[in-house]
């Protein structure tokens, strides 16, 4: 009550402060990215070559897509621990489908690739559906539900691949993906842009997107307002897994093989990128732009450290410190 009084009489001041905080908040990560690139540029002039900046862009496109997927589960107050192993499973499964079709009908490699991609996406949707139903209907905590899914995906990935990479993927896949450009934009970047645009459209322009934010912000209130919260929850996790599957297919296309160990550290990176970029762990908040910023930041950090020859193990330490400080700064800005 007292708070309300304070707010009441303080509204005009707060308004200014809020807009100020928002402006500063929106600028802080781009500024850090800018500062960081200056530091790397000074330490290693090759950092600023067009080729390296292009590299960063291509590399970050994978992480950005992953972070966008993860964001869908974060918005509804969940998180998805299974994304890493889902990537492995989708990679291996789609590669196996492609390899099998390519060997039975070698004359149609494109068809084989297309069916393989379709299978990968279908697997993503299925995994997301199971996650979502477990969480929404059986009311299993997202941590446990997706942890279980992590084990399941890992097991399936290593079982169907026998633990080895799947190599017999038609090479049109890797060639097409890595060497083609659309309007001069490399295909991985173009894919990431497409995913981002569609995701932003879903979040901002569709009723489903609106419901995602409302359910994440206050699940009980959304039920009272007649929003089908359970269905929205399932939809969020399905979308998350679907986008993750897209990332998995991008990664498979890049390596040109199905890798059972591909997903390893990607789950943590996807969460880190989203949260550092500004997606809230408490739900109800998150924009595609956050994921783009977070993804570019983490990719640039590791690229820069590679350029100035920071040892790989030491990079992990830096990443850890960065994650904690990044989230801390984010909290400060929201206060």
């Amino acid at each position: 009550m007292m708070r309300e009084l304070i707010l009441n009489t303080q509204l005009s001041q707060r308004f200014n402060r809020e807009t100020l905080a928002r402006t500063v908040g929106a600028c802080i990560m781009p500024l850090i990215i800018l500062g960081l690139s200056v530091v790397f540029g000074v330490l290693e002039p090759r950092f600023f070559t067009g080729q390296n900046l292009g590299n960063i862009l291509v590399q970050s496109s994978f992480l950005i897509v992953l972070a966008v997927g993860q964001m869908f589960s974060l918005i509804v107050r969940g998180f998805d621990l299974s994304v890493g192993q889902l990537i492995s499973m989708v990679s291996v499964a789609s590669a196996l489908v492609m390899a099998h079709l390519a060997s039975t009908m070698p004359e149609a490699p494109f068809l084989a690739v297309a069916v393989g991609l379709g299978a990968g996406l279908a697997i993503g949707v299925a995994a997301g559906l199971i996650n979502g139903l477990n969480i929404a209907v059986l009311e299993v905590h997202p941590f446990v539900a997706t942890l279980g899914m992590l084990g399941i995906c890992q097991g399936i990935a290593s079982t169907i691949s026998g633990g080895f990479p799947v190599f017999d993927v038609p090479d049109v896949l890797a060639r097409a993906f890595l060497h083609n450009r659309i309007f001069g934009i490399p295909l991985p970047v173009a894919t990431a842009i497409l995913v981002c645009v569609v995701a932003a459209f879903v979040l901002n322009r569709t009723v489903f997107g609106r419901m995602l934010y409302l359910v994440g912000s206050n699940p009980r209130a959304s039920v009272t307002a007649g929003i089908p919260a359970k269905r929205v929850l399932v939809g969020a996790f399905v979308t998350c897994s679907l986008i993750t599957a897209i990332a998995a297919l991008m990664l498979t296309a890049r390596t040109g093989s199905g890798e059972p160990l591909m997903g390893g550290g990607l789950m943590l990176q996807s969460i880190a990128a989203a949260v550092i970029g500004g997606v809230s762990l408490r739900g109800g908040e998150g924009r595609v732009l956050h994921c783009v910023i977070g993804g570019i930041f983490i990719t640039m950090l590791s690229n820069g450290m590679n350029m100035v020859r920071v040892e790989g193990y030491f990079q992990m330490i830096v990443l850890g410190v960065v994650v904690i400080t990044g989230v801390f700064l984010d909290r400060l800005r929201k206060r």
């Binding site: 009550m1 009084l5 569709t206 209130a221 307002a225």
Partner: protein, 513 residues
């Protein structure tokens, strides 16, 4: 008057500032031995700040605080407790996962050789509870108790030590009638023992019952201290609200028309509502009065499908029966429920006003074009509603979090305007709402009824019931015990119905709420 000794506690010219606001200004206050001193004020008047200063939660910016005539410097909640000042706040200090006994001793456990002495604590806890006449098992986890029982534990916790000053912050807000009665007995007993009691409330009936002196606060200032016996209700309300009672409420013209909804023999699965039948008509405000825990809030929740129904039926417009109600189904049938807990289940606090205004209408064609948001329609509609309700600030992109209680309630009301709603179920629509906004909300409700809506007004505030309702059901212990019509809806009649035969109630006949 009988003793001229120095008061137990005394505030002199106390001022408390928070960043950007003066919560209390130049407050003088004192409490004598053996008296009940009521703090009366609207929400936001500064009552909470005042008792927080008394309890040592934070220091005043100016002025002095004397305990037994000695200036209290560097007071902390812990030190205040040691001086015999025991607060019972509205936000409970109970840990849901601990037992009653563990909670009572939380922060001051009895230890023997470093190990908890559960036996000793249990004995003492049961002693205090039985002294109070509360029948509560000390081994039960607090999270499993009803809110009323939690309130009792909270009070018992405060009385575990030697108490000189007991601070009760709206303690009956969640008690049933017989429990409230026990509390009043306890207060009397403590008074005769020489305790001083500070009692925060804005319920006239209660204040009449136990108050000796009343200090009225408004907007952080002290309006005056009066003796209960010499002051009329109307005067006190006028002191509290700053305006005559009759300007607060609009003149509602009730034109009861066709039946809008009928509920027959509704009983809830958990037993909080038994055999309730009621009817609502277009163009009429129907009230449900009763104490908290009487089941009046549950009725709306049952109708709206938020709690499960054991038996009974709900009929719309005199014929169509609605089976298995759910919020979605009810909204589509033109029924809207506005919960009392706005933060918990009413609003998405960190989303903008615009999104909260349309939250319940996302499936209507007006805002939904085959799955796409009609953003212009939404903006226009939200702006129009904000204008109509004179929302402050008028910026529909502001987060609801930043609004005052009254404006939050208006945002929630918007959902009933933005889709075809004919039946409104209000649950305590003015909880946490300041006077000005209260009048506006009453005005809006009046408008709804004039336009032919049917309104169910569930309220613990008797003036709301008596001034707005054409008909009123009175609930006690989960059942409807009376229906008052037109001129019969007076404060006295309602109170009589609520308290009618409470003396015959046995404690074990209580409803688990």
């Amino acid at each position: 008057m009988t003793d001229q000794k120095s008061p137990l506690i005394e505030l002199r010219a106390v001022t408390k500032k928070f960043p950007g606001v003066i919560a209390l200004k130049d407050i003088d206050f004192d409490l004598k031995k053996g008296e009940t001193h009521v703090l009366l004020g609207e929400n936001g008047a500064g009552k909470s700040t005042l008792i927080n200063i008394l309890a040592g939660s934070f220091p005043p910016n100016a002025g002095s605080y004397l305990i037994n005539g000695v200036a209290a410097k560097g007071l902390t909640p812990h030190k205040a407790r040691l001086s015999g000042i025991s607060p019972v706040f509205q936000e409970f200090s109970l840990a849901p996962e601990l037992t009653v006994m563990q909670n009572m001793f939380l922060g001051r456990e009895i230890r023997r050789l470093g190990v908890l002495d559960n036996a000793a604590m249990k004995v003492r806890a049961e002693e205090v509870l039985s002294e109070l006449g509360f029948e509560i098992n000390t081994e039960i986890k607090v999270g499993e108790l009803s809110r009323a029982r939690q309130q009792m534990v909270e009070i018992a916790k405060a009385l575990l030590q030697d108490v000189q000053v007991l601070i009760l912050d709206e303690p009956t807000a969640s008690l049933t009638d017989s429990e409230a009665e026990k509390l009043f007995e306890l207060v009397e007993r403590l008074k005769t023992d020489g305790c001083g009691i500070i009692y925060v409330s804005h319920r006239m009936a209660e204040i009449r019952k136990i108050g000796d002196r009343v200090t009225v606060l408004r907007d952080g200032r002290k309006i005056g201290t009066v003796t209960c016996a010499d002051t009329s209700d109307a005067d006190m309300i006028e002191m509290m609200t700053g305006r005559k009672v009759d300007t607060l409420f609009p003149k509602v013209v009730q034109k009861p028309g066709k039946e809008a909804m009928r509920v027959e023999k509704l009983t809830s699965s958990c037993g909080g509502v038994k055999n309730v039948s009621l009817t609502m008509r277009h163009g009429e405000i129907v009230g449900i009065a009763g104490l908290v825990g009487s089941g009046k809030s549950e009725i709306a929740r049952l109708i709206f499908g938020l709690e499960s129904i054991a038996t009974g039926a709900i009929f719309l417009a005199a014929k169509t029966e609605i089976r298995n109600p759910s919020p979605r189904k009810m909204l589509r049938n033109g029924i809207c429920y506005l919960p009392s807990d706005r933060v918990g289940e009413g609003l998405a606090m960190d989303r903008p006003i615009r999104e909260n205004a349309t939250i319940a209408a996302l499936d209507t064609e007006k805002f939904n074009l085959r799955g796409l948001m009609r953003r212009k329609n939404e903006r226009d509609a939200a702006n129009k509603v904000a204008d109509r309700f004179s929302l402050r600030p008028l910026d529909i992109e502001r987060r609801v979090e930043a609004l005052s209680g009254g404006n939050r309630q208006k945002v929630m009301l918007a959902r009933g305007i933005l889709r075809d709603v004919e039946v409104f179920l209000f649950d305590e629509p003015t909880v946490g709402v300041d006077v000005g906004a209260k009048a506006q909300i009453y005005h809006i409700i009046n408008e709804l009824v004039e336009n032919g809506a049917a309104v169910l007004l569930i309220s613990s505030e008797l003036p709301e019931i008596t001034n707005l309702c054409n008909r009123t059901y009175v609930m006690r212990l989960g059942e409807i015990v009376g229906e008052l019509l037109g001129d019969e809806v007076t404060e006295n009649n309602v109170l009589n119905a609520i308290f009618d035969d409470h003396t015959r109630m046995k404690p074990d006949a209580q409803v688990p709420a």
